[in-house]
């Protein structure tokens, strides 16, 4: 279980007086849940995700995994046990696809043969079997995102953090990779937190949705709850687009 408890965060030197990226944010993600984190640009989604694997350390409040505060844990070791897919994919350009995927196992000192087998397995999982020896620059955007996903999963984490993993993809690929992710989440029994801009996507993929604005949590609930009882005008406005689309789609298909 991931627990974010009353966390505040301001970037830059303490007391520099910049705007707070997060103010008193609390959010809990039970084991096995797929949570979508949604909100406008700059509202603090990436910062929130970073709290969970200590890419960001809170100024106030605490973050717990399995009930234990992570502030005292070794950051590098913690990160190896958590999968993270970056907004910009973030593959290492000087390493092949296989070497990128093998990185975390390598850091953890896995035996070579085991790592090798794991890489083959993951390449199959993300359907890139033939690409092991390619360099990242020789991949399409969608392929790169899938390699990033495979790299995040390499060391068999229980927690998967995804920062807009489908941002750069065309709608068709996007849907395909999204289904892959959902599938993998279920099969590997992961706890997944995924940042997205797209409410339709969130509604279709997530068990629960957390809506953020200006560094604070506005509402968290299942898609059903959100649609039935939006907390305020901001949340209803965000639901407006998918709703309108759904109606239009239904009309178009039944006409």
């Amino acid at each position: 279980m991931i627990e974010i408890l009353g966390v505040s965060k301001t970037y830059g030197a303490r007391g520099a007086g910049g705007p707070a990226a997060l103010t008193n944010l609390s959010l809990t993600v039970p084991d096995g849940e797929f949570l979508a984190l949604i909100g406008p640009s700059g509202c603090g989604k990436t910062t929130t995700l970073g709290l969970i694997n200590r890419l960001v350390d809170p100024d106030a409040g605490e973050v717990r995994l399995e009930g234990r505060d992570i502030a005292g844990q070794d950051a590098a070791l913690l990160r190896r046990s958590i999968g993270y897919v970056f907004q910009e994919a973030g593959l290492f350009p000087h390493l092949t696809v296989a070497e990128n995927i093998a990185m975390t196992p390598r850091l953890m000192g896995w035996p070579k043969a085991e790592t090798q087998a794991r890489v083959t397995e993951l390449l199959a999982l993300v359907r890139l079997d033939a690409f092991a020896q390619r360099m990242p620059a020789q991949l399409s955007g969608g392929q790169r995102q899938r390699v990033a996903l495979a790299r995040a999963l390499a060391a068999r984490p229980h927690i998967l953090l995804l920062d807009e993993p489908f941002g750069a993809l065309d709608p068709l690929t996007r849907d395909e990779v999204a289904q892959d992710v959902r599938d993998i989440h279920r099969r590997l029994k992961l706890t997944t937190v995924m940042v997205t801009h797209d409410m339709t996507e969130a509604l279709l993929l997530a068990d629960r949705i957390a809506v953020m604005r200006d560094g604070a949590l506005v509402q968290a609930g299942t898609p059903r709850e959100l649609v039935a009882h939006p907390a305020d005008g901001f949340v209803s406005a965000m639901l407006e687009t998918p709703r309108r689309r759904a109606v239009a789609l239904a009309n178009a298909l039944h006409a």
Binding site: L55, R79, F92, T104
Partner: protein
């Protein structure tokens, strides 16, 4: 094949070997220092700016000056260590050259390391963190590999600079390919000059290409290319080492190092001394092209064993005297002073004088009716004077100018070789010449008299290092030189080096001189 070329080729193993060894050592040391510094600076911008500024400043110091500056610094350190720990080290030659070249090699490596590391996208660094790398792992596994091509480019630049600048380490007593250039310039041996330049350029090219190969191998992670580059480098090192090995290891204790300053007469005398001492059973080696005061300090520090100095130089530059007590008294005082302050032995005068004198083209002097410095003073305001690099800063020039009221329209400095040419071609009207230089006659110059006797005598004297003060065998071996070389003979020998037809090498001129001396002895 030309004799000069053959001689140059024969010297190549020694010169090239020492040059390669020095360059690679400086490069390795430079990388070992600037790479970690660059890494540290890339993470602390506050450190980067002053560090790069400092390295840039070093780069603006002319190479020759930087090299020369390290000699007194190391000498002082050596003396200090002698006092504190009871052992000194050789401040002449390899160490100061190594220190200066190391400093010289640092800027490109430092700058490229900082630039390359700072230029890595933050997203990539974040990704390294995200997969669980420690800062150290991020540096080693991600940042340095990504920065490697740019750092390698810096190393290649440094390599080319170091190989080129190493040619300037000759005047501080480190043998290098620069010996060809310095000796060639002094003796008008253009084959030597060209040979040295081409050899240094080729070496730089080969090193650059080997490093390029290594860089490409690193980038493509191609083991064969890396191995090829490593083998190439090893071959260069092995070849240079093998040329240096024959140095007799058991003879180092008794080996005599003969110093020579940077002009022809000194090369000839060093070769002559080497030949004579060889006959007396000594193993000798020469260190030529030493700067004037460097030779003296090296002798005082026992880093060379003997060399030929000139009384006037010691009198004015070392003893800072301006009075003229007369030749005999001056020599006695010099001998006394050398012994008292340094323990240096003055083993006698050679018999000729190589004085600073002012010279003019004979036809021009005649036209203007100039025979002495007094006559010159009248015409000086409309004349141009040229001097070598030290002349105008020497006290006797100031004294002479003051005594005769000499004020010239213009004053220029030349490399000694070009000085005589400048006078012959009329670029300048008057030059500071050396009385024993064969080129005075060779270029049709006439020496101007010094009726007021302001210029001090410059008797050639043989100086022996303090550690041989009680070495009766050596002093006895040197005794036959006492007062045996008359001025005309030395002038002729010197002219052999620069006469336009059938120019000879210093070794040949020394041989010629030796034969003449033996003939004289036989009579």
């Amino acid at each position: 094949m030309d004799a000069s070329f053959r001689e140059a080729l024969a010297l190549l193993p020694d010169y090239l070997g020492q040059h390669v060894l020095l360059s690679l050592a400086a490069l390795a040391l430079g990388i070992a220092i600037s790479l970690p510094l660059g890494i540290a600076a890339a993470r602390r911008p506050r450190l980067a700016a002053p560090l790069l500024g400092l390295a840039g400043l070093v780069q603006t110091i002319p190479g020759l000056a930087l090299l020369a500056l390290f000699y007194p610094v190391l000498l002082a350190l050596s003396l200090l260590s002698q006092d504190l720990f009871g052992f000194g080290f050789r401040a002449l030659g390899f160490l100061p050259a190594l220190a200066a070249l190391t400093l010289y090699s640092m800027l490109p490596v430092l700058r490229n390391t900082v630039t390359a590391l700072a230029g890595i996208e933050p997203a990539i660094r974040r990704a390294a963190q995200g997969v669980g790398m420690t800062p150290r792992q991020s540096l080693l596994l991600v940042e340095l590999p990504l920065a490697a091509p740019v750092i390698m480019a810096g190393i290649r630049t440094a390599a080319v600079w170091v190989v080129g600048t190493a040619t300037l380490s000759t005047p501080i007593g480190q043998t290098s390919l620069g010996n060809y250039i310095f000796t060639g310039l002094q003796t008008e041996n253009w084959v030597f000059v060209l040979f040295g330049c081409v050899a240094a350029a080729l070496l730089a090219l080969v090193l650059d290409q080997l490093l390029a190969l290594a860089g490409a191998g690193l980038a493509a992670r191609s083991r064969p290319r890396l191995i090829a580059a490593a083998i190439g480098l090893l071959l260069v090192i092995a070849a240079s080492l093998s040329s240096l090995l024959p140095a007799p290891s058991n003879a180092t204790q008794s080996r005599l190092l003969i110093g020579a300053k940077n002009f022809g007469e000194q090369y000839i005398l060093a070769d002559l001394l080497a030949a004579r001492l060889g006959k007396a059973g000594y193993v000798t080696a020469t260190r030529s092209d030493l700067g004037s005061s460097i030779a003296f300090r090296a002798l005082a520090a026992n880093e060379i064993d003997l060399y030929v100095e000139y009384s006037g130089t010691l009198w004015t530059s070392q003893m800072h005297r301006t009075d003229m007590p007369g030749r005999a008294s001056m020599l006695a005082q010099i001998a006394q002073w050398l012994k008292q302050h340094y323990g240096i032995v003055m083993a006698g005068r050679l018999g000729f004088e190589n004085a600073y004198v002012l010279a003019m083209r004979a036809d021009r002097a005649q036209a203007l009716h100039i025979e002495s410095l007094s006559d010159l003073a009248v015409h000086a305001p409309s004349l141009r004077i040229g001097g070598d690099f030290e002349f105008f800063s020497r006290p006797e020039w100031r004294a002479t100018a003051a005594a005769y009221g000499l004020a010239f329209a213009m004053q220029r400095q030349y490399q000694p070789e070009f000085l005589y040419r400048a006078a012959a071609s009329g670029d300048v009207d008057v030059i500071s010449a050396f009385s024993s230089d064969g080129r005075v006659a060779g270029y049709g110059l006439t020496l101007l008299a010094d009726p007021k006797a302001v210029l001090p005598p410059y008797d050639a004297i043989l100086l022996v290092a303090p550690r041989h003060a009680h070495d009766t065998r050596l002093l006895a071996a040197l005794h036959p030189f006492e007062n045996t070389i008359p001025l005309p003979l030395m002038q002729q020998a010197n002219f052999l080096l620069s006469r336009p037809s059938a120019r000879q090498t210093p070794a040949q001129a020394a041989q010629w001189l030796e034969q003449r001396l033996e003939q004289k002895l036989a009579h």
